[in-house]
C-alpha cells in the first residue's frame, strides 16, 4: 500500500437546494519519498483536495488511507493527532502565530505532541539551524522577511519528524529569488531527508522542482505525469 491512498473521493458542498461537487471521483496514490506538484486553476478543486489530504476535512464519500490509517473513520481529535504526527504544513501566508518568537512557533507542534520542554527547545533550535535561522530564534514574525518566515514555517513542519509535508502555494507571497531558495529547501528535504512532499502551485516554474505533476480541472484529475 502507498503512503497516501485516495480512492473515488467525492466532496460535495450543499448550499440551499443547490449542490456543488468540488471533488468528483478523485483517486490518487502517492508513495513515500515522492515530490508531487498539484496544479490547476482556482476553483479546480486542488485546494479542497489539499484540505482532504491534510486531514483538515473529510471527503463526502470515497476512501482515504494515510500510512495505512483509515482517515475516514477518525473523529476530529484523532485527525488532529494525525496532522500533528504525520503531516507538516507550509502555507502561502506562512501562518506563523504573531507576537510569538520563531523558536516558540517551531516548538508548538511538539507541545501538542506532549514532548517535554527541554527536549522541545533542543529540537526547535536544531531545525531552525537546518533552515539557517539559528540567530533568529527570538525574532517575532513581523521582524522577519517573507523568506525567513517561510523558513520558520518549514522548520515547524519538519520538527515533529512528519513523513509528509504539504505545501500550499508556499512561494505565492515571495519574490523570485526567495522562491528559488525555498524551493531548493524542499528539494533538499525530499532528497536528503526522504520526506514526501505535496505542493500546490499554479506556477509552472515552481512545479518544475517536483518529480510528478498532477493537474486538476473541475474537480477531476486531468493529467498525472511523472518526469524523467
Amino acid at each position: 500500500m502507498s503512503l497516501i491512498e485516495i480512492k473515488n473521493a467525492v466532496k460535495t458542498y450543499i448550499t440551499g437546494d443547490t449542490s456543488f461537487s468540488a471533488l468528483d471521483d478523485v483517486s490518487l496514490s502517492i508513495d513515500s519519498g515522492e515530490f508531487v506538484a498539484i496544479m490547476g486553476a482556482s476553483g479546480s478543486g486542488k485546494s479542497t483536495f489539499m484540505n482532504m489530504l491534510g486531514c483538515l476535512d473529510k471527503p463526502t464519500s470515497g476512501s482515504y488511507f494515510l500510512d495505512g490509517i483509515d482517515v475516514m473513520s477518525l473523529n476530529s481529535d484523532e485527525l488532529s493527532e494525525i496532522r500533528n504526527s504525520k503531516l507538516g504544513f507550509v502555507f502561502q501566508g506562512f501562518n506563523l502565530i504573531s507576537r510569538t518568537s520563531a523558536l516558540e512557533n517551531v516548538e508548538m507542534p511538539m507541545i501538542y505532541k506532549g514532548i517535554e520542554p527541554n527536549e522541545r527547545i533542543r529540537r526547535a533550535k536544531e531545525v531552525l539551524k537546518i533552515v539557517g535561522l539559528e540567530n533568529r530564534e527570538d525574532h517575532f514574525p513581523n521582524q522577519m522577511s517573507g523568506g525567513q518566515q517561510q523558513r520558520v514555517a518549514i522548520a515547524r513542519s519538519i520538527v515533529n519528524d512528519a513523513p509528509i509535508i504539504l505545501a500550499d502555494e508556499p512561494t505565492g507571497n515571495l519574490d523570485t529569488k526567495t522562491s528559488i531558495e525555498v524551493m531548493e529547501f524542499f528539494v533538499k528535504l525530499n532528497e536528503k531527508s526522504k520526506k514526501t512532499i505535496v505542493l500546490v502551485t499554479h506556477e509552472n516554474d515552481i512545479a518544475e522542482y517536483s518529480k510528478r505533476i498532477v493537474r486538476f480541472k473541475d474537480g477531476k484529475i486531468i493529467s498525472d505525469e511523472v518526469k524523467r
Binding site: 483538515l56 481529535d77 488532529s80 496532522r83 502555507f91 502565530i97 520542554p117 515533529n160
Partner: protein, 409 residues
C-alpha cells in the same frame, strides 16, 4: 495528554501581549472582590462591635423608666414624671420571680472640680448591684459598697474620661473632688468601655452611692424616687416574662386603672441590641450582595473580552488546530486565559480590599474585621466567575472548523 505548564505559558503570554486590555478587563473583578471584602469586613466589624456592646452593657437587661406624662392627649415620653420609687425597685426584686437583680439609679449632670480643673458629667446614684448588672469592671480601687450606700458616705467612682479630664496623669485614688461644691473622696476608677454602638462615650460617668445622691446631692421635690431601674432577668428566655411581671406589678403598685396608660416604660435592652445585631447582619448581607453584583459584571466583562479575543485570534486557532491542537487544547488555552484574568484580578482585589478596609479603620475609627473566610470566599468566587464566563468563549473557540479558521483574515 495535556501539557498544563505550556498551556499556562501560552495563556500568560497572550495576556501580556494585550497588557492594557487585560488590566481593564480585570478591573471589574478587582473592584468586585475589593468591594465584597470591604463590605464584609466593615459589616463583620459592626456585628462584633455590637456583640461586644451587648456583653459590656450586661446581658438579659430590662430598663424600667419612670413616667410618661400625658398633657392634653400628648404623651411626653419617658422620664418626664418621677413616678418610680425606690420601694418599687425593692418590690420588683421581691415579687417578680423572673427577675435576678435590680439596680435603681438616679442621675443628674453636675460639675466636678479637682484643683484648678473642672468637668461636667452625668453623676449616677447607684447601688452595688449596678456594677454587676451592667457588666462594669473596676480598673483601680473599689466600687460603691453596701456600707457606702447604707451610711450615705461621700465617695465617688470615676469613669476614665472623667479621670483624664480632671486628673491628667495624676493618680486620683484617695483624692478629694468637689461635686456641685460638695467634697467626695475618689475610691475607684472604672475600666474603660469605650463608645456604645450609638456613639455615646460610656466612660464619661461618675458613680456615687444612691442614698448619698438622694439625701445629700440631688435636691428633689419627689423624695424616694429614682430615675430608672435596671433589671436583670434570670435568663434570656425569662426576659419577656420579667417584662410582663414588672408591668403588672407596677400598675398595681401605682394604682393605674384598667384603661389608663402606664406611668412608666419598660425597655427590653437586650432585645433591642439583638435587633440591631440582626439588622446589621442583614445590612452586611445586602451590601455584600450588591458588591458581588459588581463581581458578576466583572465576569461578563471577561466573557466579552474573551469572545473578542477568540474572534481576533480565529486564524491563530486555525493554525494551532492544523498543527495538531485538539479541541481540548484550544478550550483549555482560552479557559486558562479567562481564569488567569479573573484570579489576577481577584488577587489584586484582595490586596486593595485589605488596604482600603485597613484605611477605613485607621481614618474613621470604625471597627473593621477582616475575616479570612470572606477573603477566601471572594477570591474563590473570582475564580469561579472566570471559569463560568470563560467557558463559553473557550467552547466556541474549540468548535471552530480548522479550514474556515485558517482562511479567516
Amino acid at each position: 495528554m495535556i501539557d498544563f505548564s505550556s498551556t499556562f505559558k501560552i495563556a500568560l503570554r497572550s495576556l501580556r501581549v494585550n497588557k492594557m486590555r487585560s488590566i481593564l478587563t480585570s478591573l471589574g473583578i478587582i473592584i468586585g472582590v475589593s468591594a465584597v471584602i470591604i463590605m464584609l469586613s466593615v459589616g463583620e466589624g459592626a456585628k462584633q462591635k455590637i456583640s461586644k456592646d451587648i456583653e459590656s452593657t450586661g446581658s438579659n437587661l430590662l430598663m424600667v423608666m419612670s413616667g410618661s406624662t400625658t398633657a392634653g392627649g400628648v404623651r411626653m415620653g419617658g422620664g418626664t414624671q418621677p413616678t418610680l420609687k425606690l420601694k418599687d425597685s425593692e418590690a420588683i426584686l421581691r415579687d417578680c420571680p423572673s427577675v435576678e437583680a435590680v439596680a435603681p439609679v438616679v442621675s443628674e449632670v453636675k460639675q466636678l472640680v479637682f484643683s484648678n480643673q473642672n468637668w461636667s458629667t452625668s453623676v449616677y446614684g447607684v447601688t452595688p448591684d449596678y456594677m454587676t448588672i451592667n457588666n462594669w469592671e473596676i480598673q483601680d480601687g473599689h466600687s460603691i459598697t453596701e456600707e457606702d450606700d447604707k451610711n450615705a458616705t461621700k465617695v465617688a467612682v470615676l469613669g476614665s474620661t472623667v479621670v483624664t479630664n480632671l486628673f491628667g496623669d495624676l493618680d486620683p485614688i484617695g483624692k478629694t473632688i468637689r461635686i456641685a461644691g460638695r467634697p467626695f473622696k475618689v475610691v475607684g476608677i472604672l475600666k474603660s468601655k469605650g463608645q456604645s454602638s450609638m456613639g455615646q462615650d460610656r466612660d464619661d460617668t461618675t458613680w456615687i452611692p444612691l442614698s448619698t445622691a438622694q439625701k445629700k446631692l440631688f435636691g428633689t421635690n419627689f423624695p424616694g424616687t429614682v430615675k430608672f431601674i435596671n433589671v436583670q432577668a434570670k435568663t434570656t428566655d425569662d426576659l419577656s416574662d420579667a417584662e410582663l411581671e414588672i408591668k403588672a406589678l407596677l400598675r398595681e403598685r401605682h394604682n393605674i386603672g384598667k384603661n389608663k396608660d402606664d406611668d412608666f416604660t419598660v425597655r427590653n435592652f437586650t432585645q433591642m441590641m439583638e435587633t440591631i445585631k440582626q439588622t446589621m447582619a442583614t445590612m452586611t448581607l445586602l451590601l455584600g450582595s450588591i458588591a458581588s453584583v459588581s463581581l458578576l459584571v466583572g465576569g461578563i466583562g471577561i466573557m466579552n473580552i474573551m469572545l473578542v479575543s477568540v474572534t481576533e485570534r480565529t486564524k491563530e486557532i486555525g493554525i494551532r488546530m492544523a498543527i495538531g491542537a485538539k479541541a481540548i487544547d484550544i478550550r483549555l488555552q482560552f479557559l486558562i486565559e479567562a481564569l488567569l484574568l479573573s484570579l489576577a484580578g481577584g488577587l489584586a482585589g484582595v490586596i486593595i480590599g485589605i488596604v482600603i478596609a485597613k484605611s477605613v479603620e485607621l481614618f474613621t475609627g470604625m471597627n473593621v474585621v477582616l475575616s479570612p473566610i470572606s477573603i477566601l470566599v471572594s477570591f474563590g468566587f473570582s475564580g469561579f466567575v472566570g471559569i463560568v464566563f470563560g467557558f463559553y468563549p473557550a467552547y466556541k473557540a474549540s468548535l471552530l472548523n480548522p479550514i474556515d479558521a485558517l482562511r479567516y483574515e
